[in-house]
Amino acid sequence: MGAYILKRLLAAIPVILGITVIVFAIISLIPGDPATAILGSYATPENVEKLNRDLGLDKPLVQQYFIWLGNMLQGDFGRSFSLNRPVFDEVMERFGATLILAGTALVLCSILGVIAGVVSAARQYGFADKAITFVVLIGISIPSFFLGMMMILFFAVRLRLLPVSGMYAIYGGGDLPDLIRHLIMPATALAVVATGVVARLSRSAMLEVLRQDFIRTARAKGVGEGRVIWAHALKAAMVSIIPVIGVQAGFVLSGAVYIETVFQWPGVGRMLVNAILTRDILLVQGGVVIVAACYVLFNLAVDVAQSLLDPRVKT
């Protein structure tokens, strides 16, 4: 097991390097030079040239990449000019908020989605199946940002049950109950689509497994139906559900960008959108690399979980 984890960790290194290459390549596609973007169109040519030199932008691209990479390895992601603070500090602070939101949503969607999928498959074409299928269809068709807005209108504005937006109350907040009150709506809105996807795939994975010969063997042995569904079938179905949950983590993280905008959640997604709109290139670069690297590590954890479940994976 240890060897397997080590192997996966080693394999993650080229992936993360690849990510830095892709990000660097995309960013260097930007027309015009960042210095003009930073200084504004009224800057004098001398100032632009000086800033370019300070940023190392007069060097060849390959060299620029390695300088950038080397700096990142030392924890130096540069400074955000719009916020005037180190990119790394800003990203890590915002990323914490995003993790709380996305993590909650991911846990919600995994549990609810798998349960809904299993129930739906076990009662195929029954009332529960039809009801779940219908709700799931609505879930995957509604834009999460629209759902979020409607929730604000209903629960916050009309019923006044929950705060409209933000992560903590401005006055007197800051404790856990306050966080949870602020978290309910955005986490739910974020989880809805992912729950739908997980439920659908769990349902079809379960249907696929339930047709397998080994399920018939279990029944021929006289194993009870509850155990056939929730132990035999679900265990085998998890082999294909777990990777889906891994992929959903990416979707939840992506959806967080919208939800953070709608609910003014101080997360990394909103930061990135603002950075793009203000052309704060270093912040975009650093943010994307850090979040993507964390996502790679998360997927590695998913693979490890998979190998724990399925003895056939280990090599």
């Binding site: 027309p31 068709s141 834009p143 209108l153 194993v223 265990k235 992506s254 997604g269 993507a292």
Partner: protein
């Protein structure tokens, strides 16, 4: 087991069924209608009497819906929402569709190339794709938009690129399985080039998958482009797609919610109808869904019979009477069994022999209600264990019998063992499902049994997973599991067909020893006369869902009464016969959804008379122990009866 089910539906022509299947799906049809309406309105936008979507009128801002002149009200600049909605819909639809075509095209090219060539090409292409997948997709989209600058076309490119990996991986998977199909090898041998094979052999087979993938992702792409516009990274003012309308409306969400609700609902309606249509297309195109194969079998076969035949005067251990099992697929009914009557006495080994589609496996599975249902239905007859009716018994009673009094050994031991449990756990479970014994004791029993089925190294093998064993060892596990509760009857469904001959010989002799030691009855299903001859006391020969002849093994093999039996035995080449012309039976077995009246073998039989094609022919007994379903049997004794 259900060869009849899997092959028969495909014989009907596939062309034209797509629309029929699609229309049958009411939800998909409803979605299709909504979508057509939306698309029509969007297409007609230039000729509809709409106001100028860009005409500002600040005095009229945030008019409520249904206000005069503005059916859906106005936005923050006093522009007519209805007009903007229709023009925005047009834009969103175009962008979503174009993005998905782009992703589908590039993804499919990469996927087909990687899957077909394999090796190094595959490795590098897929590494690149993995690299793209390593991003949470929106980060990549954001990075692309950051580079290209906000704008609708750039958002389109971003969404398209981000979705390429999805297509590439899907299409690659399908292509890999196709590239190893024999028809691709055959095409190579007929002189086709790689490009030719990809275009003319692979692509037509991959196309349905591409269409399915597209139809299930268009909705998603519309959502994503709307999302980027919502963030202000897509369409730029004054042009607006649905996403940017929603984004603009959000600023006045609390005071004037209609400016957000209208475009939001529109996105929802479009995506929902696209998804409904997409699901409909998938269901209609996917061959497995089409034949109804993707339904999960229930815990027991559905029983839908009118009357229960009375119990026989002399009950045996197992009495199958007039069993009729059908597969109801759509409007067609396949009569897999049309009245099977069979007895197995205690300690006896009965061989049930027949060709594929004859119904021998369906008979075996029907006994304990294990025929997959849907589509299987037991439409008549009865099964009695020790005089007690099983098919109508409560499920709890059936479950008590399964694996305890009557157990099964199946054909393919790799598929029939659970891949994620150790074999020890699987045997222990069979004990614990029926007897409340402590785990340790059950495990001890499992180990004893593994030793008695002559599992080499049983003590260490007990903690192995099925994939770590050879086929012969897995089948020993299957036998151990069947024996674990000392059953009265084992139903063995082609237990050695998947094995090599040398292993088959070992397994057969093991089964023979065990049944004599433990005095357990066996119902042995096979297509192989050699196996039956060596193992079984009695034989029942099946053809087209009926038993056509039964009797003691030796008598039937040396002196078959039914013409089918005689000719089938003649077809089997035997070792030691030297080089020769083999006997064949002309023609094919009848399709079980179109059985001829009278004797099903008549069309292939050289002795058939008009009477054979008339009515029902009974399975008549002759001699002491034999019976045959034939008007003109081969055997003098049988001819003399009646």
């Amino acid at each position: 087991m259900t060869a009849a089910v899997s092959t028969a539906p495909t014989r009907k022509a596939a062309s034209g069924t797509f629309l029929k299947l699609f229309a049958r799906n009411r939800l998909a049809a409803a979605g299709g209608m909504i979508l057509i309406a939306v698309v029509l309105i969007a297409l007609l936008a230039p000729v509809l009497p709409l106001q100028d979507p860009y005409a500002q009128d600040l005095a009229q801002k945030f008019q409520r819906p249904f206000s005069p002149g503005h059916l859906l009200g106005t936005d923050h600049l006093g522009r007519d929402i209805l007009s903007r909605l229709i023009w925005g819909t047009r834009l969103s639809l175009v962008v979503g569709v174009v993005a998905s075509f782009g992703a589908a095209f590039f993804g499919s090219v990469i996927g087909i190339a990687a899957g077909y060539f394999g090796g190094r090409v595959d490795n590098w292409l897929m590494r690149a794709i993995d690299m793209l997948m390593a991003f949470p997709y929106i980060l990549l989209a954001l990075a692309i938009v950051a580079a290209l600058g906000p704008g609708l076309v750039n958002a389109l490119i971003a969404v398209s690129v981000v979705n390429i990996p999805f297509f590439a991986r899907n299409i690659r998977g399908v292509t890999v399985s196709l590239a190893h199909k024999e028809f691709v090898d055959a095409a190579r041998l007929t002189g086709q080039t790689d490009l030719g094979i990809m275009v003319s052999e692979i692509l037509p087979n991959v196309l349905p998958v591409i269409v399915i993938a597209m139809s299930t992702t268009v909705g998603w792409m519309i959502l994503e482009t709307a999302g980027l516009s919502f963030l202000g990274l897509g369409s730029q003012p004054p042009v607006a797609d649905l996403g940017s309308m929603l984004g603009e409306g959000r600023n006045a969400l609390i005071t004037d919610p209609h400016a957000s609700i209208v475009p939001g609902l529109m996105i929802f309606v479009i995506v929902m109808s696209v998804n409904l249509v997409g699901d409909g297309i998938r269901d209609a195109l996917d061959p497995r869904l089409r034949s109804g194969a993707l339904t999960r079998p229930m815990a027991r076969t559905v029983v839908d019979r009118e009357a229960v035949p009375p119990a026989p005067e002399v009950p045996a251990l197992l009495d199958v009477q007039d069993l009729r099992t059908e597969f109801r697929v759509g409007k067609r009914t396949l009569h897999a069994l049309s009245g099977v009557t069979l007895q197995v006495r205690a300690g006896e080994c009965v061989g049930l022999i027949g060709e594929s589609g004859s119904g021998k496996s369906v008979t075996a599975l029907s006994v304990m209600g294990l025929v997959a249902s849907p589509p299987g239905v037991i439409a008549g007859g009865t099964v009695r264990y020790a005089g007690q009716e099983i098919l109508g018994a409560p499920f709890a009673r059936l479950r008590d019998l399964r694996g305890d009094r009557i157990s099964y050994i199946f054909q393919d031991p790799l598929a029939t063992l659970h891949p994620l449990y150790t074999i020890g756990d699987q045997i222990v479970e069979a004990i614990c499902a029926h007897h409340p014994v402590p785990k340790a004791e059950a495990r001890k029993r499992a180990l004893d049994l593994l030793e008695s089925v002559r599992m080499p190294n049983a003590a260490s093998r007990i903690d192995n997973y099925p994939h770590q064993m050879s086929g012969g060892m897995r089948q020993r596990v299957g036998i151990a599991m069947a024996l674990v509760n000392d059953p009265d009857l084992i139903i063995a469904d082609e237990p050695t067909t998947a094995l090599d001959v040398t292993v088959q010989a070992q397994i057969l002799s093991l089964l023979d020893d065990l049944r004599r030691e433990r005095n357990v009855a066996i119902l042995f299903i096979t297509h192989d006369f050699g196996v039956v001859a060596q193992l079984c006391d009695r034989i029942a020969v099946m053809y087209a869902g009926r038993i056509v002849e039964t009797g003691p093994t030796g008598a039937i093999l040396s002196d078959p009464a039914h013409p089918y039996t005689r000719r089938l035995i003649a077809c089997v080449p035997e070792l030691g016969g030297g080089r020769r012309e083999l006997h064949a039976i002309p023609g094919l077995p009848p399709a079980v959804d179109d059985l001829p009246p009278g004797c099903a073998f008549a069309p292939r039989c050289d002795k058939a008379q008009p009477a054979c094609r008339g009515g029902e022919i009974a399975l008549d007994g002759f001699g002491e122990t034999r019976a045959v379903r034939c008007l003109f049997p081969e055997n003098a004794d049988a001819e003399a009866r009646a």
